[in-house]
């Protein structure tokens, strides 16, 4: 019951989250002049990476068995699909 828990991973994840947050802000600053599409792609990639780090290490999803990992991960395919279709459609109407 009272076995020791290693904290090293938590601090590494904390460092990664802090660095990614700083990078995100730098990319988003108007004075950096990053073009719209690369900026959006970079920000979304970094945000999803941060969310993944929190889920895998802070919420211990990495240590769970496959059934629980799939129970949590697979349903997100649907909102992802909706996002691609609906935002794509809205964007298309805008440039049409």
């Amino acid at each position: 019951m009272a076995h020791h828990v290693a904290r090293r991973t938590y601090w590494i994840v904390f460092g990664a989250l802090a660095v990614l947050t700083v990078l995100e802000i730098l990319v988003a600053l108007p004075s950096m002049g990053v073009p719209k599409t690369p900026k959006a792609l970079a920000l979304i990639t970094m945000a999803l990476s941060k969310a993944g780090l929190v889920g895998l290490f802070f919420m211990h999803l990495k240590q769970e068995m496959r059934a629980l990992k799939l129970t949590v991960a697979l349903p997100f395919l649907f909102p992802a699909l909706y996002a691609v279709v609906l935002i794509g459609e809205a964007g298309w109407r805008l440039i049409r």
């Binding site: 938590y10 959006a40 979304i44 969310a51 769970e64 629980l68 609906l86 109407r93």
Partner: protein
Amino acid sequence: MSAIATAEAGSHSVAHALPPDEYFGSATPGKIGMWIFLLSDAFSFGGLLLAYGILRGGSQVWRHPGEPALGIPFTAFLTFLLICSSVTMVLAVAAATEGNRKQTMLFLALTALGGAGFLTGQFHEYFGLVPHHGLVHEGLIFGHSAYASTFYVITSFHGAHVFTGTVYILVTLARTAAGKTNANDVEILGLFWHFVDLIWILVFTFVYLL
């Protein structure tokens, strides 16, 4: 028979009375329940963020003249505060697993402090703790534009989660002080709190940075 007797002895021993499941291992029903709740909650946020994306993607003008831009530096500080509170929460779970009640309580208290700090910051962002500050005074009015309405709906829905999480932490802290919690209770609380942090990471990026 003995397993049933142990289970009836109280919720604390249930986690250890059940044999490891073929598919879910030693994950307790409470933990699986919290994960499934979080999944449904994630879809609520997903719906809000999708609506935001569709409205913004389909708009000719997103931020109308006279409406303030969202302040990134202050919110970046709030984001960092929430990340720090996630670290103190994970340390509370580690302490609880080691059976260290004092350390568990210390880290739970620090996490609750982080949550209270975030809520204070959000109040300041909306209404201003000092006169003539705050988005409502700068012209970001709920209902005046899709920009304003989506901002308030998404961030306040998240704020409601931070409030709920902070109360949940304080209740768990009091129950831990009374010796009524086990490591599994603290771990389930941790899942909720990390989820609130995870959602904020996405909200910060989509609503403030993009």
